[in-house]
Amino acid sequence: MVEEKKRKLISAFVLLSGILGVLYALYLDLFYRESPIRGALLGIGLLLILFGVYLYPVKKRQRIVNVLFLLPLLAAFFITVFIPFIFGIFYSFTNWNGIKFTKFVGFDNYIRMFQAPDYLYSLLITFIFTVLNMTTVNVMAFALALLCTSGAKGKNVYRASFFLPNLIGGIVLGYVWQFIFNKVFPSMVEGSLSMLTNPNLALFAILIVSTWQYAGYIMMIYVTGLQSVPRDILEAAGVDGAGRLKTLIYMKLPMIANTFTVCIFLTLVNSFKQFDLNFAITNGAPSRILGSKAIASTEFLALNIYNTAIAKNQYAIGQTKAVVFFVILAMVSLTQVYFSKKKEVEL
């Protein structure tokens, strides 16, 4: 009993000093007293309050612990994702300049955006890239997965080397490949120009690097899928006289249908969000003349958003493009959920 009273007292003391600290920091803040200790005082005050709550003796401690356990991550999540997300949607209806906005413009940003040829072009080129990249990555990855599960002797070494590019950041790899396209390839073929100077070939160049970087990762997912096919079923098929190709088409493929769904959606979303390689290899160059306007020929949506806001300083338009970007991705994810739910019902 004495123990509990003592604890209550300590808890109350800690709580009180925490509250005082926070209040004093807020006072300094609200009355514009610049003080170097303001931030530290506020932080320590908040910690003391949490600690005081933690010390407070009650019967149902579980509740307090629950709140304290959730609070730090939720707070970080709120200030980095939730609040910026809500503000972001809100800003897309204003003339926001990155710092403040002066008026609401309704759907003006959306209308202006869809009338800009560079955005429409970027949308188109991103869709083209996404479809191409999804196809090449999955075809390559599946072929590599078959190679790596076929009982080759050095399969672990092959797997590791196919997987390695995926671990290095797209920025660094992008610069390396810029070197390869600008110096190495032209030196191998006499008199040829760099692929990066031609709008169509530049897109193809990004596709090569993206496939090279990503196929090894998707390959490992296919490998995991292929290895989960039970051995005895395959052996039974072999006894019944099914050849390699037949077991692949009629046994393995249907059994790893789920893996295909995962890989296709994963590559779809990641190709659509491609930024690092795009930024480091071409940064939108070379330009292409459409109508009478020069348009960056390899600027995907993510880079277009970045350049609109950061390079051209048009924050409201950039944010509006980002909202549309989000809506497209959300629709893709909903389709994926729908597909996997449907599969579950069938099973």
């Binding site: 730090p72 991550l73 980002a322 989000f326």
Partner: protein, 285 residues
């Protein structure tokens, strides 16, 4: 039988050939980091004739003001390590609370986390900067171009997926273990840290690897929050600002790329199995 052997041999050769093609960009980086600028112009695919040049180029790059390798390496390491520690511990705590206390609130919070995984960085990056600027002014704690701010940002962005992965795993842990600890007089927080937390190791490994690779290689978030030429630079940002200031000096750029790649390559060689497994499991969940 012999036909099978021949097919096997051809397959083996083909696989070796493919691996070499896939690895060739890395070899090109190594070769050309060991050449003088003029030698690269003559032939970028020839073997270097003097490997000593590699050290000269590397030391030039390391001591370069724009790159400052050791400083940016330290910054990257510090940001990644601290974010990972907080991320793993805090998301384990949150996931445990969300699984073990079924209520309307826990469902809502979990749904918000799951929904947030769809949100691309692009849609929050611009308001994030203004929110953090506002918060810095209000709280008097520096959040932009500071370690505190970027670590909080990684907690927020990595948290939702980490909670999602851990949530799935904790659901499979029998409740009886915790009840036994509770009956023995263990406090709720003690039950979590002594009983549940050690059981989470395998999934925490996945969470660590998945987030670690992402944070280490991330470019957009640090470039926006720390600035391209701020006082803190992560490795990808340093490489990018180095490339910007030494346009077309490929010997130096490739040496910088070499230095930026080497830590991950070494890590991969040491913990290959765990890294591949971690990344694959993260994708399937």
């Amino acid at each position: 039988m012999s036909k099978r052997k021949i097919t096997g041999f051809v397959m083996e050769l083909f696989a070796i050939f493919l691996s070499l093609i896939v690895l060739s960009p890395f070899l090109l980086v190594l070769f050309n980091s060991a050449k003088k600028s003029a030698d690269i112009v003559i032939s970028p695919i020839a073997l270097p004739n003097n490997w000593g040049q590699l050290l000269t180029n590397l030391s030039n790059v390391i001591h370069n003001q724009n790159f400052s390798y050791f400083k940016s390496f330290q910054s990257s390491l510090f940001i990644t390590a601290v974010s990972l520690v907080f991320l793993t511990v805090l998301s384990s705590m949150s996931a445990w609370v969300l699984v073990r206390n079924k209520s309307r609130w826990s469902d809502v919070i979990f749904m918000v986390f799951v929904a947030a995984m769809v949100i691309p960085f692009q849609v929050v990056m611009l308001p994030l900067l203004s929110t953090f600027r506002g918060l810095s002014d209000f709280l008097g704690i520096r959040l932009l171009s500071s370690y505190t701010g970027i670590i909080i940002a990684y907690l927020g962005f990595g948290g939702s997926m980490s909670v999602f992965i851990l949530h799935g795993f904790i659901k499979g842990i029998p409740r009886e273990l915790e009840e036994a600890a509770w009956i023995d007089g263990c406090s709720p927080e003690g039950t979590f840290f002594r009983v549940v937390f050690p059981l989470l190791k395998p999934v925490q490994m996945t969470v660590l690897i998945l987030n670690g690779i992402w944070i280490w290689n991330d470019y957009l978030l640090p470039s926006l929050m720390l600035g391209l030429n701020g006082r803190i630079k992560t490795l990808p940002v340093a490489v990018s600002s180095f490339v910007g200031s030494y346009v077309k000096q490929w010997d130096l750029i490739l040496a910088a790329a070499f230095l930026a790649m080497i830590p991950i390559v070494i890590l991969f060689l040491c913990a290959q199995k765990q890294i591949i497994q971690g990344l694959v499991e993260g994708a399937i969940k």
